[in-house]
Symmetry: C2
Subunit: 435 residues, 2 copies
């Protein structure tokens, strides 16, 4: 008999089927034993009233998480989890587990400290609510790619080991590369720009590395960056319009493909407005002064409190979970940032706030060779290490821009988990290099 | 007028259209000027008999690779490249290039040494035959993902910074991680296995790092690995059957989506047989002895010459570009390799030879906790650094296996390029960290 997945049972009611997976839970009620089988897709309950059916578990001394094969008759039982149940079972133990798991996966709530969850990640990640998180991540990556592939974006893989020049120079991991210093890439920024010169439209999903010593709930030392960059834009508003499409598709795909996971996580999907409201950086500061009597005018950046205030304002005024803040001051943005032609102290850049927290950063980049030479000089950065990068602009680059979405940050904000580490399979922080 | 891509012109014959891109080539024949515009998708020829139409180029002193906007009437001209031509043009220079490019992109053949191509990668990658290579790479990644997504595989992103335990211990890049040693991951092997315990079926596309000091045409220090791992397999033949599907889809997708690129590269796609022929390692050695009078029996591995002989044999005997060699000796395989239950000195592993060169390695892994403890002891590897990894097996893991495809190696063998560096956008080798 061919094995089916737990997600395929609905079309097999009344039939005898074969399932495989982990023995997720087991409980006794009077003379009845309820088993939960968990496979890579979901779970199903099996019921036995005959001790003999469970003999293989006893004989193998098989504890929870043992690998089992379950045959049985698929019955529609409205009060069972998922509305189906396996009856008249035949159980075989494929791999017996003899020890009790360090975390009780069968409980409804996984009551463990974050440290314990992360130390036992190979086991903790099996917990349904942990799996749900990673199913969302996988779906987001897939959606990002599909939106861009249908718009002629080409997927690229760029170097993670770089020789000298990095975007910011700070917070980089350094290593010995055959006797020379090398650094782990903080972002694919410079490479994706060079590739705009080749394909116009490129994207990359991959790891980025930040040697930040921050030990906060919002920082990871390796995270997954969803990057895109494209040419022939008008200005940063072209990038913002594409981002709106990317996000709308992500949330539509999550709704269609991750219904049970969203329910389990009690995550409420946002509506993405047809046009996401936007406010200029300096207007945002004026607004905060007016509404909250706090004078942040002249500050070079928004504080987390400022972002929360702006998020609340957007929700009230536009019923929007999203708000673009545009035109951040040039002095806080990296050297490749394109200034606003009308007000050169401000930039053609944006942050997207999602429920009052920054989620995406992007903008228009410089595209003329001479502008790069000037920008590097102004920032007191030697141009020599950027020689290859500058070739791209020296020999023809269109107006272009792009953005980066932090995958774990997106999942964190969407699901309301309290620590970004819980959005990574095996997170890396200042204290944690294993598992 | 809305901009169209060069790949969209066929549906606009007789219309006035607007295109944007790079001034790829320019030549004069009598009083007629032929321009080639290159955009992110392809190229198109424009023809001008009126000096005035070209005045903007003259005025901007715009050399090749300048960014231009071209309006014109789309005409069907059988003898033109692609069968279409732009007439009655209106040209604007968006960004003027004032210098001659270090490589002549407009030539049919890019006659440059590999060192020069790599030093000037931001420009060299614009050359049509270079772009074609990377279009293939992008398509292969896409195809790999699609095949697996439709089979319930979940995409994962695993740590590239690891604390201690690595698969082999050799050839790893070491770095300082906040005062402690860390290493760059040589493969996602241990993580994808742990994730089989979570999702049964997982895949990852990402960078892997090898600190090999080899300076050959076949080695990169960072490459892109297409990894998959899945549970509830029978043995390595289950993995081989899935690989056959993955490859068949890759070559079908390349055929459908990359026709012009394959033609340009003169790449001949292989047929993937319904069943890829296979031969056991020891039979392969016997065969080589019989056919070539070279006694390699008892050698622990196949040499490149052995692989070429076997490839030629498979081609002649089965008309197949592919051959599986199964059952490599255990002593040359990593500790997690599953032995052949019938002949424990040999493994349930395989290599896939493509046109006589190894392309994919895979196999069945151990899945029982006790077997891991024994295997580590036998290999004289301390189990303590693997503690978290071993949790996965201690608490229930099904029979499983997987494989890894080197993306650049696949592209190299498919297109017949002589150096794997040319299959990477910005390759990393022992001498090269930039661009």
């Amino acid at each position: 008999m061919e094995r089916i997945f737990t997600t395929e049972v609905a079309s097999h009611i009344g039939e005898r089927v074969r399932l495989q997976g982990w023995l997720h839970a087991r409980r006794q009620l009077g003379g009845i034993t309820f088993l939960m089988l968990r496979d890579g897709q979901g779970m199903i309950q099996a019921v036995s009233e005959h001790e003999a059916e469970l003999a293989p578990l006893r004989e193998a001394e098989a504890e929870l998480e043992s690998i089992i094969v379950l045959e049985g008759e698929m019955a529609s039982v409205p009060q069972a989890p998922g509305g189906v149940e396996l009856h008249e079972i035949k159980l075989d133990v494929l791999v017996a587990v003899h020890e009790i798991t360090p975390l009780t996966l069968s409980k409804r709530k996984l009551n463990a400290q974050i440290g314990s969850l992360l130390d036992h990640a190979p086991i903790a990640n099996r917990y349904p609510a942990r799996r749900a998180i990673f199913k969302l991540s996988s779906t987001v990556m897939n959606s990002f790619r599909q939106t861009l592939s249908t718009r002629n974006f080409v997927e690229i893989q760029t170097p993670k080991l770089v020789g000298a020049a990095t975007e910011s120079g700070a917070n980089v991991f350094k290593l010995d590369y055959f006797g020379r210093p090398a650094y782990l890439a903080q972002s694919p920024q410079l490479y994706k720009q060079m590739m705009v010169g080749v394909f116009e439209r490129v994207f990359e999903i991959g790891p980025v590395f930040r040697a930040e010593e921050h030990d906060t709930a919002r920082h990871l030392n390796q995270y997954t960056s969803l990057d895109l960059e494209f040419g022939f834009i008008e200005n940063h508003f072209t990038v913002m319009a594409l981002l709106r499409e990317v996000l709308a598709n992500i949330f539509t795909d999550l709704k269609e493909r991750c219904g049970p996971e969203l329910t389990m996580l009690e995550a409420v999907l946002p509506e993405v407005p047809e046009t996401i409201p936007h406010i200029h950086f300096s207007e945002a500061q004026e607004l905060i002064f007016r509404l909250h009597k706090t004078d942040v005018r002249g500050e070079p950046d928004l504080s987390p409190q400022d972002e929360r205030w702006l998020g609340a304002w957007a929700k009230e005024k536009f019923q929007s979970d999203f708000l673009y803040v545009t035109g951040y001051p040039m002095r806080k943005r990296p050297f490749y940032t394109h200034p606003d032609p009308e007000q050169p102290a401000f930039s053609n850049s944006f942050d997207l706030l999602f429920r009052g927290t920054e989620l995406v950063t992007g903008g228009q980049r410089l595209h003329r060779y001479q502008e790069y030479l000037q920008a590097l000089e102004l920032a007191h950065i030697a141009s020599e290490p950027f020689e290859a990068y500058l070739q791209a602009f020296r020999y023809g680059m269109p107006p272009h821009g792009g953005l980066a979405i932090g995958l774990e940050r997106l999942i964190m904000q969407l699901t309301g988990i309290s620590n970004v580490r819980l959005a990574a399979l095996f997170p890396r922080d200042i204290h944690r290099l294993t598992p």
